[in-house]
Structure formats: C-alpha cells, structure tokens
C-alpha cells in the first residue's frame, strides 16, 4: 500500500491498495508525472483504489485502511473498486476465503468492471474525480 501524488501537482492523492493482478494495471495507469508521496495533506483530495481480490482474512485490514483515510481527510476519499474481484469477488466469488466485493465492507463510489480493466479505465475514473468540484 502506498500513496501516489497522481499528477505530481498535489491535485489528487491516490492510495494504492494493491492486492492482486489488477495492481499491475494500476501501475501501468500511473501517469509519468506522478510522484510517490508519504502521506497527503489532510485537506488534499484523495482516492482509494482497491485493486484485486480481497480475502476474508485481509478484509478487516482493508476496511480499517479506508476508515483511517476517512478519519484523517477533511474531504472524504473517493473509493474505487478496480476490477471485478474488488467489485464482487469476481471469478472467486464462490471461494470459501474471498470477500464478495469491497462494498460488503464499506461504501464504494466507483465500480470498474474488467478482468482486468484497462489502465485507461482507471485514468478516466481518476480524471473525473479531479474534474469534479471539491
């Protein structure tokens, strides 16, 4: 898990919750101008992108990560379920060990379909976040 200053200009900070294969598409989506950041300013605009399968074992950690961001930031983060595993459990929905979508844990603002989605799909979602009024 790491924070990324997405455009490198402090306009959007993205928390990369990299759980499985979709995280590779996240990596491909990161703009060239991005810079890694330790933690965003508390009034910064943020997005949390959950990429990949959430196991039941890891689910509490994912939930508390998002809760921590919510508690810290004055503007609520945009929560993105990136890929079908994050949306519904995806191909592993019937597993004995998999959470059937992040929205069984916490509210999700954007559901990105695909297995995996394209990097462009994530860029479009985050471009729209920045485009939205604060």
């Amino acid at each position: 898990m790491r924070w990324v200053d997405w455009y490198g200009d402090a306009s959007l900070y993205v928390l990369d919750v990299a759980l499985a294969c979709c995280s590779l598409e996240f990596d491909a989506a990161v703009p060239g101008s991005a810079s890694p950041t330790v933690e965003p300013p508390t009034d910064g605009r943020t997005a949390v992108v959950i990429s990949g399968t959430v196991t039941d074992r890891l689910a509490p950690a994912v939930a508390s990560m998002v809760d921590a961001v919510r508690a810290r930031q004055s503007v609520p983060p945009v929560v993105v379920a990136y890929g079908v595993c994050a949306c519904s459990g995806g191909p592993y929905w019937d597993s004995y060990a998999v959470t059937k979508g992040v929205d069984t844990l916490l509210p999700v603002d954007v559901h990105v379909p695909g297995c995996p989605p394209t990097p462009d799909a994530l860029r479009e979602v985050l471009d729209a976040v920045v485009g939205a009024p604060a």
């Binding site: 519904s88 995806g90 954007v110 559901h111 990105v112 379909p113 799909a121």
Partner: protein, 107 residues
C-alpha cells in the same frame, strides 16, 4: 469474421436475432454472470394445418459486468454465434446495478 477472431476484448455483445434461448452460455459461464429468461410460443412460420411446434422467445438477457471474467467461454460455446467480442469496454459505474447490462446495452 467469426465471433472468436482476435480483436480487442472490450466486452461481449449479444446478437439478439441469433439467440435461441438454448441456455448453453448461461450454463457454461464459470462465474454465473449471464441470466436469461425466455418463453415458448407456437412457431409462426409453421405451415397452416401442420402440427404445432414451439419456439423459444428471448425475454431477458443480462450480463453482469461485476462478475464477467472475460474468459470468452460463452462466445466459444454459442452454437448460433449470437455472442461476439466487441472493442467497447463497459464504463465504470457508481452502483453495481448499472453494470448489469440487458439486451439493449449489449447490442
């Protein structure tokens, strides 16, 4: 061009006139992301006075993009080539319901 030819696997589209509601795609889908409702009607093309034959009529066909894993088994299995790859990716949505696409969205 056959539906299984290479191209961008953006989404799977339904060619409604070709679908016979045989349920093969629904049953073969490994993640159960396809739902299909149909009913039967007497065959309108039967010759007058011929024995009544029933045909399936498709009522509802939904792909749940929250689940589809893009394996393409449905495209491969359809005996009537009613499913095909298409370059247009389904857009992200605020709620899961918006990612369940019916016959109109799948065209």
């Amino acid at each position: 061009m056959s539906p299984t030819d290479a191209g961008v696997h953006g989404r799977i589209r339904l060619i409604e006139p070709a679908c016979t509601s045989c349920m093969l795609c629904v049953r073969e889908c490994p993640v159960w992301c396809i739902t299909l409702d149909s009913h039967t009607e007497p065959d309108p093309d039967a010759a007058p006075g011929a024995r009544v034959r029933l045909v399936n009529v498709l009522d509802r066909f939904v792909i749940d993009w929250n689940l589809c894993m893009y394996c393409g088994i449905c495209v491969d299995e359809c005996p009537f080539d009613a499913l095909a790859w298409d370059a247009h990716h389904p857009a992200a949505a605020p709620v899961p319901e918006a990612l369940r696409h019916g016959i109109a969205e799948l065209a």
